[in-house]
Symmetry: C2
Subunit: 378 residues, 2 copies
């Protein structure tokens, strides 16, 4: 790298911000495109572009400000990434990768074609009936938006003709194209972070994730599981990233089914909530490795520096508060690290920050995490 | 803390930048005043004020942008801090503390009055002769600028009448007021970081520092020394901070003399080069504790998370290069962490970044640090 580098990030939320902080540590500059002003990442750079990817005038100015471009969510239509690539900009992950991931039906199809384990799924069109679907997926299944789904938005549980119609009506408000997926009975949810540059591919430890109202609530690193299963998860995580021709950081979520089978639930082509613990608990965080990987710099060690880490999300408990109250409770705990994203205001259920605890006693860390989370008023 | 907070920092160099990154982690905003545009900290905020403390118009706008004010060097004349305080702004450390530190003669005098161990010193005025000084300090002593000295600038070794005159002429170019100090023969140089808020005061481990051409080159944490000496260093470090009514982070440097005596060399009312290792090697870095202490938030643990840490400075080896070459060599080493400050250009001897290695084998870390430092082209 002979020149000073400015990394352009599509999106200005907490993932962009935490990547930006690592880019700054390494001496790079940052450029942010976000729909509104004063986003968490937008306000920590002078290169803040306000607008969105469908406005090619602003997109082009943004592109001109950046040496290369990355993203913090998979919802940017891959055609806009193709436009950026047509300007001669390197985009990581590429439009091709995003095209294979952002439509969940294509994502599942791509994984299945590569012989990777996914739940049964069926595409939906105007002729689809409950009878067709239930024959293939069982009486109870999940209707899903093919695009733009997150944190449970875009999912609908179906168990008869009536709920199928209700589901189609409800989900179509958000996004027209739908598909249906087998209802998987699982013991645990697992996740892993994979990072890849042109020469190397590395995995972080496999973690257990606990959801609350479909939002990631608690992450426990590492998960206790037999070695064969752990190695299998790592192997298929790497194969999944290769299947979508992915470079950069990927978060991949799995089910451990009641029958002890591993199924890939979904993959995200970006830094991931289930990898926030890596900031304090690993030699190199997912955010620093994100920056390293998109620049094709040597990847850092993904090993943990202590026995366990527990991450708990701080979700908004009120509407409108502009700064969390009582963070002192967390700061007093020498095992706890708090991150506040700096969003302009709280909203019930909104991700506003997180706490990571690092130490040797897993159950104690989980207990402390829950106590501390309850103390923060936000 | 009910309101969103913007922390104003006087100065936009690497110390301001590394503090800013921790403030961002905790959800605060940052405002920077620096003489030139695009300073390391100035360019990572939209609140970048260009000008300096003697321009009260810009100083007042800067003050208005900030909830409270701190600083990254002790060269800001304390009268300008009094002006900020007269506007009703909280300044940490205060104008009072800075007035007791920035003039090294007053600093030494304050420490001595508090019965803290310092080398012998004598003030200099127009009547001073070599004979007077040598009677009190010995044949060989050091002439020093009372203000604005750093990295050896502002020091002159004197051993006869002639070199005294030469020294006075040379140093007066920089700053008119001088004093003279005993030439201390020492075995080692030590340093410690102290952090204090209204309720707590904490010390980091005592470290060994190795200078090269009067610039901090290598820091080894912790130093191997008998417990009585270590406790004594910690005790007088705390007393020194109290002696100057200090709050915030302080870096204090010591000599371990040939006679095994500890003398305070100097103290800096800010985050310190000898504390950079704390970013990766301690539970809470000096920069996060700086932010916590000025906001009177609970201080984080200052304990190390591994056995040893070694920090080596990356000093400019060329003039004009705008980005370091071959950082890959460092990124490949899983024990090494690199920080690049993002200065607009290199200059021979300029502090442009640093590398910290963390691990269990001290000699191996020192060896690796020196090898890696040589590989970077900057």
């Amino acid at each position: 790298m002979k020149e000073k580098i400015t990394i352009g990030i599509l999106g200005g939320g907490q993932l962009a911000k935490m990547s930006a902080l690592q880019a700054y540590k390494l001496g790079y500059d940052i450029s942010i495109l976000e729909k509104t002003k004063n986003s968490p990442a937008g306000k920590i750079t002078q290169n803040e572009f306000v607008g969105w990817v469908d406005d090619y005038k602003i997109l082009e100015s943004f592109a001109n400000s950046a040496s290369l471009i990355t993203l913090e969510n998979e919802f940017v239509d891959y055609h806009h990434l193709e436009f950026l690539e047509s300007l001669g900009k390197k985009v990581v992950p590429s439009s091709k990768t995003i095209s294979l991931i952002q439509d969940k039906l294509i994502q599942k199809d791509t994984l299945q074609k590569n012989k990777l384990p996914v739940a049964k799924f069926v595409s939906i069109n105007s002729d689809t009936t409950y009878k067709n679907l239930s024959q293939k997926l069982g009486e109870k299944f999940i209707l899903k938006s093919r695009k733009l789904g997150y944190d449970g938005y875009g999912n609908y549980l179906v168990n008869n003709e009536k709920s199928l119609l209700e589901g189609i009506n409800k989900l179509s408000e958000r996004h027209l194209e739908l598909y249906a997926e087998e209802f998987v009975k699982f013991k645990k949810e697992l996740a892993i972070i994979v990072v890849r540059n042109k020469k190397e591919i590395k995995t972080y430890p496999v973690v257990e994730t606990i959801q609350k109202n479909h939002i990631c609530h608690l992450v426990i690193a590492p998960i206790k599981l037999n070695n064969d299963l752990l190695n299998y998860v790592k192997k298929i995580a790497i194969q999944s990233v290769k299947a979508v021709e992915g470079f950069g950081v990927f978060g991949i979520e799995f089910f451990l089914t009641n029958e002890n089978k591993i199924l890939i639930n979904e993959m995200a082509p970006r830094t991931h909530n289930t990898g926030h613990y890596t900031i304090e608990a690993c030699v190199t965080s997912q955010f620093e490795n994100h920056i390293r990987s998109i620049l094709d710099l040597p990847l850092g060690s993904t090993e943990m520096i202590d026995k366990f880490a527990v991450m708990i999300n701080l979700l908004g408990k009120t509407n409108g508060l502009n700064f969390p109250q009582n963070i002192e409770a967390v700061l007093k705990n020498s095992k706890a690290h708090i991150h506040i994203y700096g969003k302009e205001e709280s909203r019930i259920g909104r991700k506003l920050g997180h706490i990571t605890l690092v130490g040797k006693n897993k159950n104690e860390l989980i207990k402390q995490a829950k106590i501390l989370e309850r103390k923060i008023i936000y």
